[in-house]
C-alpha cells in the first residue's frame, strides 16, 4: 500500500512538473546599479518565487498571465517584500514601492501603466526605479559613494521580478494588438488599392468619414465629387451617329457603397452619380451614371443636332468598354447564334 502510494505520488509530481514545464521559468537577471551588478538573492530568485507566486498554475502557453490573475500575483510580491523587510517598511522608498504594488493589486493602476524598469540615467549618473509623476522615483545616486542598502537592492531585484510579471501579463494584449494592427493595415491598403480610386479632392472630402481612431475600420461608403473619367458614348437615336466616340465624363456628385468591405477587401461596390459628358460630335450632355465595381455606364441627354428633341447617348466607362472588348468574340458568336436562330424560326 505504501509502495503504491509512493508511486502515485511520484506520478503526480511528474505530471505536475510536466504541466508547469509548458512555460519556461525565467532566468535570474538581477540589475546593475551604478556599475554594481547585484547578486542573485536566493529569497528573490525565480527558483523560489516561481512556485511561491503560483505562476506555473496560472500561466498559459507561451507565457500569458490572464489579467484576472495579476492582482493575486502582485499581492504575493508585496507580501514577500513585507515579510523580508518588516523592519524597513517606514522607509520612503519601501512605502513608495508598496503603494505602487498595492495600487496594482487592488486594480487602481494597470500593471502596464507602471514602469518597472531599473533605468540608468547615464547623463545624470543615477539609476531610477518607478519613476512616476505623482510620487517621484526610488533613486540610486551614482555620484554619491553610498554604501549598498539591502532594502533598496531588494526593491531593484523585485522590480525586475515585476517587470517579468508585467511581461507575462503583456502577452495577450500584445497578440491582440499585433493582429488588430495587421488587419487594420490591410484594410487601409485594400481601400486605397482595391477600392474606387479617389481623386485628390475626393480623398480630402472622404477623409471626413474617417474616425479619429485608427483602431476603427475605415469607411464603407465614399463620396464621388467632380470626378473625371474616360469612356465612349454612342447616340442611341441616330443610326447615322451610332458609332462609339471617345468621351470625357465628369461626375459632379455621387456616392459609392462598398459591399461587405471587410469580407471583399474593398473589391466590390455599387454607385450612382450625376454625369456630364463631352464628346467631339455630341457636345455636352447631362444624365446619370451607375457603376458596379470599375464598370460604369450612363445615359445622357444632348441637344439634338437636327432638331426634333434631345439625343440620348449611352456612355460606357473605360473598364466596361475593355470588358466588352475582351468579350467581343464570345458576344459576336452569341449574336450570330441568336440571329441564326431567329432566321431558322422565320423560315418555318
Amino acid at each position: 500500500m505504501n509502495a503504491a502510494f509512493r508511486w502515485v505520488l511520484l506520478l503526480w509530481v511528474v505530471v505536475a512538473a510536466e504541466a508547469g514545464a509548458a512555460v519556461t521559468m525565467p532566468a535570474d537577471e538581477p540589475p546593475t546599479i551604478c556599475g554594481r551588478k547585484l547578486d542573485v538573492s536566493p529569497e528573490l530568485s525565480w527558483r523560489t518565487l516561481w512556485g511561491e507566486l503560483g505562476l506555473p498554475q496560472v500561466l498559459r502557453d507561451p507565457g500569458s498571465l490572464p489579467a484576472a490573475e495579476v492582482p493575486r500575483v502582485v499581492r504575493g510580491v508585496a507580501a514577500k517584500f513585507r515579510a523580508l523587510h518588516a523592519q524597513d517598511l517606514a522607509r520612503p522608498d519601501a512605502q513608495l514601492f508598496l503603494s505602487v504594488l498595492d495600487d496594482v493589486a487592488q486594480g487602481r493602476r494597470a500593471i502596464a501603466s507602471v514602469d518597472w524598469g531599473v533605468v540608468a540615467n547615464m547623463e545624470d549618473r543615477r539609476v531610477d526605479i518607478l519613476e512616476t509623476e505623482r510620487e517621484g522615483a526610488i533613486r540610486f545616486d551614482c555620484r554619491a559613494a553610498e554604501a549598498p542598502v539591502m532594502v533598496k537592492d531588494d526593491i531593484a531585484r523585485l522590480a525586475r521580478v515585476m517587470e517579468k510579471i508585467q511581461n507575462f501579463a503583456a502577452t495577450a494584449p500584445l497578440l491582440v494588438l499585433s493582429e488588430t494592427l495587421a488587419l487594420r493595415e490591410k484594410q487601409a491598403n485594400d481601400l486605397l488599392r482595391n477600392g474606387l480610386t479617389m481623386t485628390p479632392w475626393e480623398m480630402k472630402l472622404n477623409e471626413r468619414f474617417l474616425k479619429d481612431d485608427d483602431a476603427v475600420s475605415g469607411f464603407s461608403r465614399q463620396i464621388v465629387f467632380l470626378r473625371p473619367s474616360g469612356g465612349a458614348a454612342i447616340n442611341t437615336r441616330s443610326r447615322a451617329d451610332a458609332s462609339l466616340q471617345g468621351s470625357l465624363a465628369l461626375e459632379p456628385i455621387g456616392m459609392v457603397w462598398y459591399l461587405d468591405p471587410q469580407k471583399n477587401d474593398y473589391r466590390e461596390w455599387v454607385g450612382v452619380s450625376g454625369l456630364l459628358t463631352s464628346s467631339t460630335d455630341g457636345g455636352l450632355g447631362y444624365g446619370v451614371l451607375v457603376r458596379y465595381g470599375n464598370y460604369s455606364a450612363g445615359l445622357t441627354l444632348h441637344s439634338g443636332k437636327n432638331g426634333g428633341g434631345d439625343d440620348v447617348y449611352l456612355f460606357l466607362g473605360v473598364d466596361l468598354l475593355n470588358l466588352l472588348d475582351a468579350k467581343r468574340p464570345s458576344l459576336e458568336a452569341f449574336v450570330e447564334k441568336y440571329r441564326a436562330e431567329v432566321r431558322r424560326v422565320n423560315l418555318r
Partner: protein
Amino acid sequence: MADRNLLFFVHGIGRQSDGWIDAPDGPVPALEQAMGLYECFAPGTKLRDVADVVEVRYDDIFDEQIQRWTDQVKGLPPVGPGADWVGRLQEFWTKANGDGKTFTDFGGDVILYRGFDLIARSVRLRVNRILLAEIYKRHVESLASGKRAPEITVVAHSMGTAVTYDSLYSLFTGSWFAQGDEVLAHAKMTDEQKTNFAAALKDIESPAGTSVPVRLNALMMVSNTSSLLSRWDAARVNAILKPGAATRFFYNVNHTLDPVGKVKPFQIPSDWNKSRARNVSVSHLHQENIHALSHYLANPAVHGRLFGALLGEEKGFTQACFDRAMDLATTPEWTGVGGALAAKAGDEVAKLRKKLEEIAGAVGQDDVFGLIGKLDAFTRRVIGGAP
C-alpha cells in the same frame, strides 16, 4: 535573440529601398564606425552583435498613390471641351510618377503625408504594424528563453519624426482592444492562431481596462519635424509620449544649420522631466548633406546617448564609455569641420557654411510650404552645388 534590445529606424523624406539602413550612407554603417571609438566594443563588433535592428519603410505607400493617380489621369481622353485641362493633368502626374526622386526631394512625400489623412493613416498603421509585429515576436522569444523582454529604442529621422510621433499617438490612444470580434471574423488566421487569439481576448481584462503594454526606452527624434507635420494637436500627443508615460527618454536632436528642423522647431514642453527629455544640438560639418541621418549619428553627442539608452551598462556600454562620448562631442572635430570636409579648402567650407546659414536663417512660412521651400533650396544649393 531575445536578450538583445530592439532598435527601430524610421526613415525620412525620399525614396528608400529594402535594406536602406545598411546602405553605405545608412545609419547602421554610421553607428558601426562610431562603435570603433569606444573600448566598450571589441574591434570588429557589428551593431547586430549587440542589438536587434529593424528598419521601418513606408515610402512605397506614396509611390503607389502617385501611380494610382497617374493611371487615373492616363485614362482621360483629351477630347471636346476640357481637353487642355486633361492634358496638363496628365503631364503633371506622368512627371511626378516618372521622376519620383525629384518629386520626393522637393517635398512630394510631405504633401502626401500632411495633406491626405487616408494616406497618413496607411502610413501610421504600417509603422505600428511593423513595430508591434517585431515587439511581439521578440516578446515570445524572450518568454521561451526565460530572458527579459527586449527594451525598445526608436530612431526617427526628418519626416519620419512626424510619422513616428503620429503613429505612437495612434498606438497609445486607439481602441485596439475593442476590435476583437471583428478581427476574429475577418483576419486571415489559421485555426490555431484563431484559438490563440480567442484565448488572448479572454486573458485581457476588458477593452477599456487594458493598456498598451509597450514603453519605449528611448525615442530619438533626429531633425525633428513633428511640430510642423504632425496631424494631431501637440498638447494631446505630448501628454502621451512624454518620458514617464510612453517613453523613458526623449531626445530632440537637431543640427544648428539643418533647415529641416527649423521651420517650426519642436519644443520640449516645460512640464516634461528634464532629466529624461533632452535637446541635443549639434553643429559639426563633416559632409555637405548635414541633414543625413548618418551625419547626425556619427556625432558622439548623438550616438553616445543612443548607445547609452540602447545598451546601457548591463549590455556593455559603461559609464566610462558614455563619458568618453560626451567628452568627444565637445572636441573641435565634433563641433566644427571634420570628416570628408576636413580635406577641403577653407574657402570651400566657408562657402558651404554660408549657404547653409542662408538657407537655415531665411525667413519663410512656418508651414509645409515653408519646409518645401527650404528643402528645395537645400537640395539645389547644397547637394546640387548651385550658387
